[in-house]
Amino acid sequence: MTALSIDLRDRRTTGRPDYVLIFAILLLSAIGLVMVFTVSAPRLEADGFSRTSAVLRQSIFVVAGIGVFIAAAAVSDRSWRLSTPYIFGFTLLLLLVVLSPLGIERQGAQRWIPLKIMDLQPSEFAKPAVIMALALILSPAEESRMSWTRIGRALALLAVPSVLIFRQPDLGTMLVFTFVAFVMLFTAGTTLRQVVTMVVIALVILVSAFQLNLLKEYQLDRLTGFLNSNSDEHALTTNYNQNQSQLAIASGGLFGRGLFNGALTNLAFVPSQSTDFVFTAVGEQLGFVGAIIVLGLYLLVVWRLLVIGVAARDRFGMLVATGVAAMFGFHVFVNIGMAVGLLPVTGLPLPLMSSGGSFFLTIAFSLGVCHAIWTRRSPVPGERRLMS
């Protein structure tokens, strides 16, 4: 009797798209396009270019991203699990290519593979690949029975792309890996003791790396150079960017100054404002209310991803959804935290809103995979098999 009623309900809901998630994703992308337009148009016009050239380019990425999302969502979660080793391997290959002479260097970091239409940034693609690979390794473990061996294997797997990315260097992506791995290990069932041990070991490694000068001076320079690399052609300091950004957001007030009325963002006083500092434009032009709406939409996405994790029919799906939620939420928190002056500048873009192709496609792919997990979720939420 009970079983029958569950069956009926689940048959009705299985396969239905997550409209709330899709709505939030599309709305955030649309707001992102408007923001990119408002901050780029006056400057482009002043420089004698077409007002719409920047927003058109971003629109192409959004359309491509939607395509990637639909495609990723159409593939079954099992196929994604089976192809995870290949995806991970391919990503490692791309990371090697970046460090080869084929990659190009900008502002002291070798991070891009130049293609005709856009410059690929493999460290972005590495994010979902690492999440899926970690999920694959951690999924066979049982709740609260996480062995140190498995944790070691997971960390060893994480180390390979980390070393490659450290060579670029890309501190932001490494922070993402660390946070995502931590969240996934916790979700996968590590004990409190294991969590504390890992944190202590990580701190010891970090402190000794600095104490023993394991980092050579040029590496430090490159790291700090990276920290400052968010400035545009003005080569202004990190502090300047952040102060300007903070000031712009503050001047937005409760309801904002209106589109194209932002004294600072529209007039190009805030550097990198269509990429890393796009939230500044929201804060100044749409005010506290607009910023809260945007934050709410991001929270909505994170919430839906965690719900997908809960609803996933196996531990792989659960871990992938949690990993993506961690990556997504971490980007949002760090990026906005930087724009409002709470966190140092690390160059993590704002998901779905910052202009730039690689990251938008990465996020679209990650969300597409999660949506594939959603549409093939377990008929009984929370009840999933260890192995399919």
Partner: protein, 650 residues
């Protein structure tokens, strides 16, 4: 359902993260709004000073002598140029203006960091359009109509008008002058800079971070400077300058090598300067765009073309100075007696002023003194007409011998100073020279100082006074001083400070400054002396023995005899030939500076004309014909070509 608690923890952590962000946003956007609004607003404002258009300068008939026009100029605001793009801007400007980058870099260094300044002269609309279309290559650049000083007369009246330039140290002491301003340096531009410059305005722009101007927030328009009306009559000025050039040509034809010429036309009835010129001249436009080249500057310096010799030239006035001892002799009854026992019976016994001039004077232990000619019998009147040096030497000796007895030793010097020698006339033009009246005190001072101005041996002597009576020796005067002295003598003793500017009118048409005739002092001189002087000045130009009778013989045209020429009856004058270098050998050329001072009309003098042609030859031969052409114009006769006033004249 054992796993969701872990996911719930993850969700809670993110909720916490987002809550922190919301609190931070609330703090920034809602609770501290006021401060940040001000701060954000001020970032995008840029206030610049707008140069006030300089006031116009007119002649007495309202003809424009100097004005201000708006011209499109390239303006660089270095505050808005990112430091690392400065070199790029310099290179692009060099390409745009087709000038060497080093020039532009020099200008940048010259004006300093944070300065706002114009680069180059007027730019064409096409150049401006090009710059606007490629503004991304020109950070901090604006193209604005800027007031530009124009001088429509170019070289004409240039010394009177003056020019403008970067402020010097003295200018910077004035509170209203900033190093970026341009100030009047010379002429009326210099002496009336305060009235001409106006009050600068300000414009507050909205700019973006790259210095691109988006709009005007607030504007205080500049108040243009006042307009100056001068006493100059540009027609007379034209005639004077043309005559000076022709006079120099005449001098060259006569085999001289004139250095320059200068002249003044002064109204003795109120001290107005009607015309004033110094040749060679310069074009003040060279200075208004700040782009004078080194070669131009050097050529101007070489000829001293920037100096106004009418007020800055220290010349020996030569025989034109004789009117001073002449009037003194008449007033005090001082007449020469020297060597008259050698020529018994050759004087007029009824006339105490009668004197026989044999052309030479002999003193013990001194070379024989030569007059420029042997004039025969003269009296006080003819002595001036024929310009007899011996007569005035005689007067000097009378003064010298009776000094301390009948009068003070400085009798002649004091009289000369009364008439304005040895002191600035007070004309409203900068850099006027005071000239020099030598006396015993001056002589001894410089003898002790051993500065080479006076001889090392012997004391102040009667010979020095003799030299002074004929306008030689250490005595110097400017052409304007001579004009003022003559004006004072012929107008009956009223010493007017000469003046160039009549009034200054502000932009609303209110007269803010009126330069009324300024009587410095009344010089006590009897009417009979004035009449006598006028008569004898007329004798110089029309008398049978007058030193400039040849130059004035065709005053009313070639077909009218001088005796029948009515307007000539109203003309008087005095020649002067100042020895610059004495011919010591046969081959040596004697070099003289030619003077002529004319007065007209004699019944009611309105014009005193002073002509100096430096190293130009004799006064009667060269300066007199030059002045004659001007006097013809002033007396409304047709001006005839300047021809030699005859050889062997004084």
């Amino acid at each position: 359902m054992r796993q969701p608690w872990r996911l719930t923890v993850v969700g809670a952590v993110f909720l916490g993260f987002f809550a922190i962000l919301v609190l931070r946003l609330w703090y920034l956007q809602v609770s501290s709004l006021e401060d940040s609004l001000d701060s954000a607003e001020s970032q995008q404002l840029s206030t610049v000073t707008i140069e006030a258009p300089r006031g116009n300068i007119y002649d007495r008939n309202g003809i424009l002598m100097a004005g201000t026009e708006a011209a499109l100029r390239i303006v660089v605001d270095r505050k808005l140029v990112p430091e690392d793009r400065e070199e790029e801007l310099i290179q692009n400007l060099a390409a745009l203006l087709d000038r060497p980058a080093s020039d532009i870099r020099h200008l940048f260094e010259d004006r300093g960091v944070g300065a706002r300044f114009t680069v180059g002269g007027e730019v064409s609309e096409r150049t401006a359009m090009f710059a606007w279309e490629h503004i991304e290559g020109f950070p901090g650049l604006a193209i604005e109509p800027q007031p530009v000083r124009i001088y429509p007369l170019h070289e004409q009246a240039a010394h009177l008008i003056g020019y403008i330039g970067a402020p010097g140290e003295a200018d910077l002491l004035r509170p209203e002058v900033t190093p970026r301003d341009r100030v009047g340096k010379f002429g009326v531009e210099g002496s009336y800079d305060r009235q001409l410059r106006g009050t600068p305005g300000t414009i507050t722009y909205r700019v973006n971070a790259r210095g691109q101007i988006l709009g005007i927030v607030e504007e205080t328009p500049p108040i243009p400077g006042g307009s100056v009306t001068t006493s100059i009559d540009l027609h007379m000025q034209t005639v004077l300058e043309a005559a000076l050039v022709d006079g120099m040509s005449l001098s060259v034809e006569a085999g001289n090598e004139p250095v320059r010429a200068s002249g003044v036309i002064l109204d003795p009835s109120d001290g107005s300067v009607l015309a004033m010129a110094s040749v060679p001249s310069y074009d003040p436009t060279l200075f208004s765009d700040g782009l004078i080249t080194q070669a131009e500057w050097e050529s101007l310096s070489e000829t001293n073309a920037l100096n106004n010799f009418a007020i800055q030239g220290n010349y020996a006035p030569a025989s034109t100075f004789k009117v001073v001892p002449y009037t003194l002799a008449l007033i005090r009854g001082i007449y020469p007696t020297i060597e008259q026992d050698e020529h018994p019976g050759q004087q007029d016994p009824s006339d105490p002023t009668s004197f026989f001039c044999d052309g030479t004077l002999q003193f013990p232990n001194t070379p024989l003194l030569h007059d420029w000619a042997a004039h025969g019998e003269v009296d006080i009147h003819t002595s001036l007409q024929v310009s007899c040096d011996m007569y005035y030497w005689g007067i000097a000796l009378q003064i010298w011998e009776n000094a301390g007895d009948l009068w003070d030793e400085n009798l002649l010097q004091d009289w000369a100073r009364e008439l304005g020698f040895g002191a600035r006339t007070g004309v409203d033009l900068p850099f006027e020279s005071p000239g020099l009246v030598p006396d015993r005190e001056w002589f001894q001072y410089h003898q002790v100082k051993k500065d080479g101005l006076v001889r090392e041996e012997g004391g102040w002597a009667g010979g020095d006074v003799m030299n002074m009576t004929i306008g030689q020796g250490s005595l110097t005067a400017t052409p304007l001083q001579m004009a003022v002295a003559y004006a004072t003598l012929v107008n009956g003793g009223t010493f007017y400070a000469p003046r160039v500017v009549d009034e200054v009118v502000d932009i609303k048409g209110t007269v803010v400054f009126r330069n009324l005739p300024n009587i410095v002092r009344k010089v006590d001189i009897p009417d009979v002396t004035v009449d006598s002087l006028k008569e004898d000045l007329h004798g110089v130009v029309a008398g049978p023995r007058g030193t400039s009778r040849v130059a004035f013989s065709e005053f009313c045209g070639a077909d009218v005899r001088a005796a029948d020429c009515e307007s000539l009856k109203q003309v008087g004058g005095k020649t002067g030939t100042a020895e610059v270098r004495v011919a010591l050998t046969e081959e040596d050329e004697e070099v003289d500076t030619a003077w002529f001072i004319g007065v007209a009309p004699l019944d009611d003098p309105r014009f005193v004309v002073v002509i100096v042609i430096e190293e130009g030859g004799s006064g009667g031969g060269v300066a007199a014909p030059t002045a004659r052409a001007i006097l013809q114009y002033l007396m409304e006769e047709s001006v005839t070509p300047i021809r030699s006033g005859g050889e062997n004249t004084e």
